[in-house]
């Protein structure tokens, strides 16, 4: 009985994992944004080594669920996209970390 219960719980943890963050490219993006206040598109492109198209689509996905806030401005007449993790995104990442730690702990 005990084994079945813990097995169910184990499966539930996997089911409950935040799939938006769980995708490797988005996980890298969220982790990079988690440790800074804000960063621009070029910074994220360099640090995550994602292609521009991939980066755009993953950022759009994260923006759709409200995990990041995107602001566009111009610096020396060059367009700049500044991205920051929202409170919702920060909480989601904290929860994701806790979930994965529970799931992967020895």
């Amino acid at each position: 009985m005990m084994r079945e219960n813990s097995g169910d719980e184990y499966a539930q943890v996997v089911v409950d994992v935040d799939r938006v963050i769980h995708e490797p490219a988005r996980l890298a993006l969220v982790a990079h944004l988690y440790v800074v206040s804000e960063a621009d598109f070029i910074y994220l492109e360099q640090r995550t080594k994602l292609t521009r198209g991939n980066l755009s689509s993953h950022l759009r996905k994260l923006e759709e669920v409200g995990y990041i806030a995107v602001e566009k401005d111009f610096v020396d007449r060059i367009p700049r996209t500044v991205v920051a993790l929202t409170d919702k995104g920060r909480k989601a990442f904290d929860l994701y970390r806790q979930t994965m730690l529970r799931f992967l702990r020895d």
């Binding site: 982790a31 440790v35 800074v36 804000e38 070029i42």
Partner: protein, 204 residues
């Protein structure tokens, strides 16, 4: 816990990337080489202006070399706050270093026991002031190289004094060392972070 270590490391790496461009090392290296050259041709006062030129050039070079390659990032509040707190302490340290520096320079002229003792140390007090500045920069920006440079400066000046090497040669050695390290760091930086095409309004 490993995740936290991973994130802390990620944050530190992101921060350090900005200081591994070698620009400051190169500028200080060139300033030291220039100072050495001016001392050799007998115009030390002109050489004293070179660190100022280096300080003035630094933000511009960061803007044209580092920023387009690494992009823009604002670090987490705790690091910014720590930096702000340290800046206060280090302003005091810099002021003390500057006063000690001036006192050391003044001590080279005069005939009291104190003046004679300072003169007996040769260029070591100058090295100590340079080392203190390097250490202060290292602590301020949390860049360990600054502390290593401080140690190297002290060693070069003590060895230079023991071997009776002229101060211009000591500055030349340090200048060459810093220029080489700076150039190596810059090459690695440019290779690791190639200049990307400008953002277009369609991105993101």
């Amino acid at each position: 816990m490993k995740t936290e270590i991973g994130l802390a490391r990620l944050e530190r790496e992101s921060y350090m990337a900005y200081y591994r461009d070698g620009i400051l090392d190169l500028l200080v290296g060139f300033a030291l080489l220039g100072m050495s050259l001016f001392i050799m041709i007998g115009d030390a006062s002109m050489g004293a202006l070179l660190p100022l030129v280096a300080i003035l050039l630094h933000p511009g070079l960061k803007k044209y070399v580092t920023r387009p390659r690494l992009g823009y990032v604002k670090f987490a509040t705790h690091r910014e706050e720590r930096l702000k707190a340290k800046k206060g302490q280090l302003t005091i340290l810099f002021a003390v270093t500057a006063i000690v520096g001036v006192a050391v320079l003044m001590a080279y002229s005069g005939n009291s026991t104190w003046h004679l003792w300072i003169r007996s140390l040769g260029a070591i007090p100058v090295g100590v002031v340079l080392a203190a500045s390097a250490a202060a920069l290292g602590i301020l920006y949390n860049v360990r190289r600054g502390l290593t440079y401080a140690l190297v400066i002290v060693v070069v000046f003590i060895l230079g004094h023991s071997l009776r090497v002229h101060i211009s040669i000591q500055l030349l050695i340090l200048g060459l060392l810093l220029t080489m390290i700076g150039a190596t760091l810059l090459l690695h930086f440019v290779k690791r972070y190639p200049k990307l095409p400008q953002e277009s309004s369609n991105d993101a």
